[in-house]
């Protein structure tokens, strides 16, 4: 059974790490989680990013957060990637599978997947 003692152990382990994490997060992944996003399947996409980023050891570099309606409901689930000194990348019609690819190629490899972006859809 899960116990509060395990949480105490996490606290112990995190003692020094928490301070380290602040001020990092060079890349921000933002998942649209308004009614439109949720109805279109944003919840599993969010999960895929949260899990994937941690499993790939990117947590120091990448923060995953949620936002409301981005204003392009027909393209939901929408995920925006913000990186210092770079233009924002807007991925559309996301799925957990596409999220895994974005983690691998974009967040890890630094290469935008143009096919999944809104720029491509509007071109």
């Amino acid at each position: 059974m899960k116990s509060l003692a395990e949480l105490a152990a996490i606290r112990e382990k995190m003692k020094d790490k928490v301070i380290l994490r602040e001020g990092s997060g060079e890349i921000r992944v933002v998942v649209g989680m308004a009614t439109c996003g949720i109805a279109a399947g944003a919840r599993p996409v969010l999960n895929a990013f949260v899990e994937g980023v941690n499993k790939e050891g990117l947590a120091e570099k990448v923060t995953v957060s949620q936002t409301g309606c981005i204003g392009v409901c027909q393209f939901e689930p929408v995920v925006e990637v913000f990186e210092a000194d770079k233009e924002k990348v807007t991925y559309i019609k996301m799925t957990p599978e596409k999220a895994a690819e974005v983690i691998e190629k974009h967040l890890k490899g630094g290469k935008v997947i143009a096919d999944y972006t809104i720029t491509k859809a509007l071109a």
Binding site: M1, K2, L4, E6, L7, A8, I10, R11, K13, M14, V18, M33, A34, T35, C36, I38, A39, R43, P44, L46, N47, V50, N54, A59, V64, S65, Q66, G68, C69, I70, G71, C73
Partner: protein, 183 residues
Amino acid sequence: MKELSLNILDIAQNSVKAGASLIEILLTETPETLTIRIVDNGCGMTAAQVESVMDPFFTTRTTRSVGLGVPLLKLAAEQTGGSVEIVSSAQAEDHGTAVTALFNKNHIDFTPLGDIISTVTALIQGAPGIDWQFVHSRGGDAVTLDTRELRAVLGDVPMDQYDVMQWIGEYLREGYAALPACE
């Protein structure tokens, strides 16, 4: 929405936006019914606002002018012969909102609850600074989670820390495994 847990995720976001410091998600099942209550201590709404959130063309959002959250919940409840009630107060002393939705589980148009654990973890991940109380009671037993209890142990460690999120997911899964199935 394909799952009621998605409606819950959506409606609870309104409580986050209302500046609540505590949000309760209370699910109560009987053999015939499911009651979903989302209670917050946020800024609350005026009587006129409560009236208008039921209307799909009312929203506080500025990016577009249609708000479907409450109407979708209302639709899901009413199509089972159930209902949605909103009680809210915007008074300085005692403010907050309680949304109560009643469903008839045995109705053919009842939407399944779905992955409620993912909804709880997504809510905590999205608003780790506020407190969440989750109670799902069924057959005289309940699955419960109160972030205030976790926070007392975690101290400064943020609730959205991955290890903590995993613990919460696992804790809830164990709770559900021990909860009696529908009677």
